[in-house]
Amino acid sequence: MRLIAISVDPPEINRGYCRKQGYTFSFLSDTNSEVIRRYDLLHEKAGPGSVDISRPAEFLIDAGGRVRWAYLAPSIAVRARPEEIMKVIDDLGIAAGRRD
């Protein structure tokens, strides 16, 4: 299972943030919000200086590339809970193979 974070932040910001937080999973930069748009998650003018950013959202994708679970938070302060995602992974039985 791979953990992939995506935001409009450039790589150097993500590098600093990962170092600060000790994150080892992938932090991807969608600086022109192309992928964020493709997933219809664009939150227009919600960033500092009215820049476009992503709304918080989480998707569980299986090895076939299919969405198995999705969470679109009802508030910008709300995130899917890690234990909930772990439970979904267990319930779907797709974590039986390789974990990385």
Binding site: A5, S7, P11, V35, R38, G47, I61, A63, A96, R99
Partner: protein, 150 residues
């Protein structure tokens, strides 16, 4: 006789302010007190009750307690702070786009290639490809779209 300082209204107002501050500094970090801010609302309630108690005391025993005017002003301000908090949490923060075209369960996730923190391009579909070696061969992925650390 010198009237007593009405501690209750001032302490109550401090409690109201602390409700706001502790939400931002502490309770927003924990899903259980963030998603529905019950702890913060309780603190607001306690603060407003203290102010109200002080105000009632000031009116019932004006010969003993000061704070009729200050108490009324602080009660108004306290209610305003609570109103601002509720507006932020229950209205403003919920103004998220509808995202009606977001990928649904059962649909294929749109593929993409984006640079990671070191500028290395990562392609979603290649994560699952056992032939690519190294990063490939994953049995799934959790995509987390986030607002960004500015």
């Amino acid at each position: 006789m010198r009237r007593r300082w009405n501690v209750s209204v001032w302490a109550g107002f401090l409690v109201v302010l602390s409700a706001m501050v502790t939400y931002i500094l502490v309770f927003i970090r924990f899903p259980a007190t963030r998603d529905f801010p019950w702890a913060t609302l309780l603190i607001f309630g306690a603060g407003l009750a203290l102010i109200a108690r002080g105000l009632i005391r000031a009116y019932r025993e004006p010969q003993l307690y000061r704070g009729r005017i200050a108490g009324a002003i602080l009660l108004g301000l306290g209610v305003a702070v609570l109103g601002f908090f509720c507006y932020q949490v229950f209205y403003f923060m919920r103004q998220v786009p509808p995202s009606t075209r977001a990928p649904q369960v059962g649909q294929m996730a749109p593929d993409f290639t984006l640079p990671d923190k070191d500028g290395v391009p990562i392609t979603l579909s290649k994560l699952f490809d056992p032939g690519t070696g190294g990063a490939g061969g994953a049995n799934g992925a959790v995509l987390i779209f986030y607002r960004g650390y500015w």
